[in-house]
């Protein structure tokens, strides 16, 4: 379980996150939603120790973020940052290979190679595996980066807007793959999404952030209502129900 307790973050005088406390359940997909600038990426970066914690405490299972050794956390939790200009000359295969670094520390074994192959296959990257990243399209690059996080093979996977640049087929196939990971392998996945319908369709748990505070939290089927969309996002979108699932009309 990822437990966030009394977390605040500020840059200068500006409060980015104000006293956030939440538990993200072990196993399953948690969706993090909210308007631009709400603090979603900041929250994810704090959990993944990309930026140092100012006030509050974050634990991942029994590991205290910021206190436990970074390379131990790297075998427990992987993050796909929202934007990262990772070395453009690497080939797709080399990039994904780096996902195994926390396990082999520079000396890849048979098992590591197998996991890289599996990640390449899982994201349909075989035909691209020897291409340098700077020759790929935005969506192909995004898929390679997700495959790298996937190859890291951690209990917790944090993905910041993984659907960026992906077409509908790739988006659905990625979300299905994440469901699979959560259900079959009991992984815990936290994913920042902008499309509420993807959150309703695939997530078990939803956290809505607005202006650095929690606006709503719970299972998407009960949380997503037109009042919630109005409160969190400040726009009046009708929410209808299809079966037991909410559907936001755009």
């Amino acid at each position: 379980m990822i437990r966030v307790d009394g977390l605040s973050y500020r840059i200068g005088e500006q409060h980015i996150l104000s006293d956030i406390s939440l538990d993200l359940p072990r196993g399953g997909i948690s969706a993090l939603v909210g308007p631009n600038g709400a603090g979603k990426s900041t929250l994810l970066s704090l959990i993944a120790r990309l930026i140092p914690i100012q006030t509050g405490r974050i634990t991942v299972d029994d590991l205290v973020v910021g206190q436990c050794a970074s390379d131990i956390l790297a075998r427990k939790l992987a993050i796909l940052p929202q934007s990262d200009d990772i070395a453009p000359r690497l080939t797709v295969r080399e990039l994904i290979g780096f996902g195994r670094f926390p396990h082999h520390k520079g000396r890849p074994g048979v098992d590591d190679r197998r996991k890289v192959d599996a990640a390449i296959e899982a994201f349909d990257l075989e035909p691209l595996q020897h291409r340098p990243l700077d020759t790929l399209s935005g969506g192909q690059r995004q898929r390679s980066l997700i495959a790298m996080a996937f190859a890291q093979d951690t209990d917790y996977l944090l993905l910041d807007e993984p659907l960026n640049n992906l077409d509908i087929a790739a988006s659905r196939s990625l979300m299905a793959r994440l469901r699979d990971l959560a259900e079959v392998n009991n992984r815990s996945i936290v994913v920042v999404l902008h499309d509420l319908n993807f959150a309703c369709g695939y997530a078990d748990f939803l956290v809505a952030l607005t202006a650095g505070r929690i606006g709503a939290m719970g299972p998407p089927s009960t949380v997503v209502t037109s009042q919630m969309v109005a409160k969190v996002f400040g726009t009046k979108a009708p929410v209808i129900r299809v079966g037991d699932r909410p559907l936001v009309q755009v």
Binding site: L50, D85, A87, F98, F101, Q152
Partner: protein
């Protein structure tokens, strides 16, 4: 694939070294071998120090255009040396053994670079233009302050400083060879042990943290190594601005690889080849018509311009 090219590169280096030792020796081996041997060792040390410091610097700044000398590390070394000579007075300075002075300068440069470049790299992360501009300003600033000090000190003291102020491969400070070899060997061992972490650092700070490598710590260790290596090369032959850029660009062409286990030795050998073969040609074939550093800086300067223009167009 790329690593297979390391063997012919090593062969080429061996040929260059043998030619350097033997060409035009005129049979007087008892004198020629130790005399040339010391110079050969110095050239190898300088070559390896410059290429390694350049590779390391490019890894932590994540670019292939900037090098320690372009960023003014050499100029800072000369400035510190001049400052110390000015502060202590040349005579007191001369009374100390050269090895002690050298070590003192190494420590000064390590401290100064951690202070200056440590903060700069923390802030300008990923901002290449800002780094380039700062480098140019640093370089100019360091050399003008050096020039100012050099006008203040008396001509005898100036002679001490001058040795380190201009690049030269013909007169090499051989009394520093032992200590320089030790320092370079130490740096190479550390760099080699860090090679896998360096591969990760090259991915950028976020990716490095995610993979469990602390980028800030890596930067500080690497900056220390760079400062020691630059001290060695500057003390031995003076500043050579574009050699690092030239040989590391060549290494990326000859052995393209994401792994420091390949690129570090490749760059070191290519750098040694350029110096040893270049010096053989200059000394033995052309009889010193032009100093090697001029040629290296001319070609390296063109490479710098080319890379800069290409980089800006992208």
């Amino acid at each position: 694939m790329a690593e297979r090219r390391l063997i012919p590169t090593a062969g080429l280096l061996l040929v260059a070294a043998v030619l350097y030792m033997t060409l035009g020796a005129g049979g007087n081996w008892g004198f020629v071998l130790p005399f040339r041997g010391a110079k050969l060792v110095a050239l190898l040390l300088v070559g390896v120090a410059i290429s390694t410091s350049t590779v390391l610097f490019q890894t932590i700044t994540r670019n292939r255009i900037l090098t320690p000398s372009i960023m003014g590390f050499d100029a800072l070394y000369v400035l510190l040396l001049t400052g110390v000579v000015y502060g202590f007075g040349g005579q007191a300075y001369l009374d100390l053994p050269p090895q002690v002075l050298f070590l003192f300068n190494v420590v000064l440069l390590v401290g100064a670079s951690l202070l200056l470049f440590g903060t700069l790299l923390g802030r300008a992360q990923g901002d290449l233009m800002r780094l380039i501009l700062t480098g140019i300003i640093f370089g100019t600033l360091f050399s003008s302050v050096t020039g100012f000090f050099q006008r203040l000190i008396d001509p005898n003291e100036f002679a001490i400083v001058q040795v380190s102020s201009y690049a030269r491969f013909t007169r090499i400070e051989t009394d520093l060879l032992a200590i320089a070899s030790l320092l370079v060997a130490g740096c190479l061992i550390v760099a080699w042990r860090l090679r896998h972490q360096l591969d990760v650092l090259a991915l950028g700070p976020k990716a490095a943290v995610n993979l469990g490598v602390d980028p800030r710590r890596g930067q500080l260790v690497v900056l220390t190594l760079i400062a020691v290596l630059v001290s060695v090369s500057t003390a031995l032959v003076g500043p050579v601005v574009f050699l690092g850029l030239l040989v590391v660009s060549l290494a990326h062409l000859v052995t393209p690889s994401a792994h420091h286990a390949v690129i570090l030795p490749a760059a070191a050998m290519i750098s040694a080849i350029v110096l040893v073969a270049g010096q053989t040609i200059m000394e033995r074939v052309l009889s010193l018509a032009t100093p090697l550093s001029v040629v290296v800086d001319f070609v390296g300067g063109l490479v710098f311009l080319g890379l800069l223009l290409k980089g800006l167009r992208r």
